[in-house]
Symmetry: C2
């Protein structure tokens, strides 16, 4: 086992109607809120009105930044940070999915400074403080509600990268599974795939932490059991709850304790697909994972076989495990090949270039530029 620090200061409120606690929590952090959200789904669902009512109940002042895009971009972050700075806000309330909350984390770092949020990604700047962030989650997927990571795109530079800092933890996050009921089947499936992929990234990371591996496979098995049930019954609160809880646990630190780090090459490749084709994050991962597993089948054969055997509870070798994992993604209705999203051989050079620009390397199983064409072939 590796030395590690277990520390997660986020207070997570989970369950039915937990957002009714917002008027108690919000005033702890000041008076003026920057309310950040996406492109209308919370207005359609009525959540926008509920949140405005709760902010009113708390007697807070509010300035709004709506319209955060999926696969979030630095332009939104910088504009929202400018608005927050101008209005001297005390806190951010982010209501939405991973894109909104990831954006809000970088907005929180950018408000106190005089430069673009991208400077944290490029390494030009290091954060010294952050505006407190409270989140209300509407999509079970990325785990951002209880971690220190944020993914952002810079289309001008052709980059979509992840960033993590201890100042990025939300102070409090409110997770009502009922708020995820409006999510349609395809995005529900991508969320399930995303949480499974997070587990895999940590499982295939370097380091020997058997309990963490057991917890990882527990989370995947939960998703395997209840994910398909949920896709057949999207309005079931209890199934929504099981998946939402699993998604949080997949990437809140727990799945990394005692390991060196995750691998994350698949996320790197997936980000490039999202950048070029606006592929939903979870769908990009179900295309990249089977290819990555096939590429590293020989050197990782014991690890892959052990994973499949534990997940499916029957003796499987590496090849059999890969087939079953790909089958699981298919069962969720997710794409597993580039052709499934209409991307053909003609895109290969563009993808190779994207992998190079985004420095897709992997933390445990190292990738070189020479490996990229082979990986893309395996995705075809």
């Amino acid at each position: 086992m590796q030395n590690f620090i277990a520390y997660n200061p986020t207070k997570l409120h989970f369950g039915k109607d937990v957002i009714e606690g917002l008027p108690v929590s919000l005033p702890k952090y000041g008076k003026r809120i920057l309310f950040v959200y996406g492109r209308g789904s919370i207005i359609r669902s009525g959540l926008y009105d509920s949140v405005k009512r709760l902010i009113g109940q708390a007697g807070m002042e509010v300035v709004e930044y709506g319209g955060i895009r999926p696969n979030p971009v630095v332009e939104d972050v910088d504009a929202a940070a400018g608005l927050g700075r101008k209005h001297n806000v005390d806190m951010i309330l982010a209501v939405g999915g991973g894109s909104v909350i990831d954006s809000a984390k970088i907005i929180a770092l950018t408000i106190p400074v005089n430069h673009s949020g991208w400077d944290f990604y490029s390494g030009k700047a290091k954060p010294a403080k952050a505006v407190p962030l409270i989140t209300v989650l509407t999509l079970a997927a990325t785990g951002t509600e209880m971690n220190r990571f944020a993914v952002l795109s810079n289309r001008a530079e052709g980059k979509k990268n992840g960033y993590g800092h201890v100042l990025c933890y939300p102070k409090e996050s409110f997770l009502d599974p009922a708020l995820t009921i409006p999510v349609p089947g395809d995005y529900t499936a991508y969320g399930i795939a995303d949480l499974i992929a997070h587990c895999f990234e940590l499982y295939f990371g370097a380091g020997d932490a058997t309990l963490t591996d057991r917890i990882i496979t527990s989370i995947v098995r939960e998703a395997m059991e209840y994910g398909p049930q949920l896709l057949g019954n999207l309005t079931d609160y209890d199934l929504r709850a099981r998946i939402m809880y699993a998604a949080t646990m997949a990437l809140n630190g727990l799945t990394s304790y005692g390991k060196v780090a995750g691998d994350w090459a698949v996320h790197g490749m997936g980000h490039v697909l999202s950048l070029h084709y606006d592929t939903p994050h979870g769908a990009s991962l179900t295309i990249a994972y089977p290819a990555w597993l096939k590429f590293f089948r020989e050197p990782m054969k014991e690890r892959i076989a052990a994973l499949g055997t534990e997940l499916f509870r029957e003796p499987l070798d590496a090849g059999g495990s890969i087939l079953r994992i790909e089958g699981l993604f298919r069962q969720l209705g997710c794409p597993v090949r580039l052709s499934d999203i209409g991307v053909g051989h003609g895109e290969k050079d563009k993808l190779v270039k994207g992998f190079i620009i985004n420095e897709v390397e992997g933390g445990n199983m190292k990738l070189t530029h020479e490996d990229y064409p082979k990986l893309i072939d395996l995705m075809m």
Copy 2:
């Protein structure tokens, strides 16, 4: 799933030589330390000297309270709190096992007030603030290093009870598995039994949280795999690390998410055994658990069978599961009957009275006073 709050502010430093970080952490909380420890084992191991060196390196002032007793008593807590109050300490550094750290938690609550620490247990007083607590753990067992619970005895009243408050979380805890290497085989086994019992208390608590159940059985399986190995090889750092990590995870909140609460009747009964016979905590639990399982075998038959089947990975009914669990405790060298610790039928009335005084009720499967003699018979 039940609504729940996931919140654990303790910063846990885990791994080899992590205590070398004390000079960085301690000064964050002030200048004057109350250094609390037990009855000499840290002096014999050399840890006392190391900690004194690190406190010196940090340039802190220190006042010491040594001699905290196992199965800790309120007299030590009140005396140490008085010392801390007199010297106006800024923080507590607790170095030891569960008894020392549990005592330190109540000392931290008692220093700012003018009454006995027992008043928090009796409900006479509610804490308003606590002196910051930093811990260095020397025994893998209770999970106290990362939770808000503390168990204390009041021998004058014939009580040994648990208490929990959000102010009881240690600010930081330092866990170097190497510091547990001096723990002898029997106490190592009791620690393993304790962590398993914590998992069981939560598993048999009310509420339906399948992922939490999976995590619970993952922790028990880790203990089942590495516990016996460790008992055959007490100086192995890596085995010490796996057990220490498992013990922390068994009771840091994780095993309760989405459940109503744990059951804890077995802990209640175990505390009475410890109170009367100074039975080590873990050993009291391995006597009480088989009896409790047999007592509730019929109403809990599906739950018990599912637990055994998952732990031992073969189809087991409730009776078979109980036998295997008892066998596991025996394999660890722990007592499973009162006769194993020299307690005979003559003690029955005393134990019944102890259960009554300590209000042993259970959180999920309710016990009445009429049940106590039957439970004690099952322990014989």
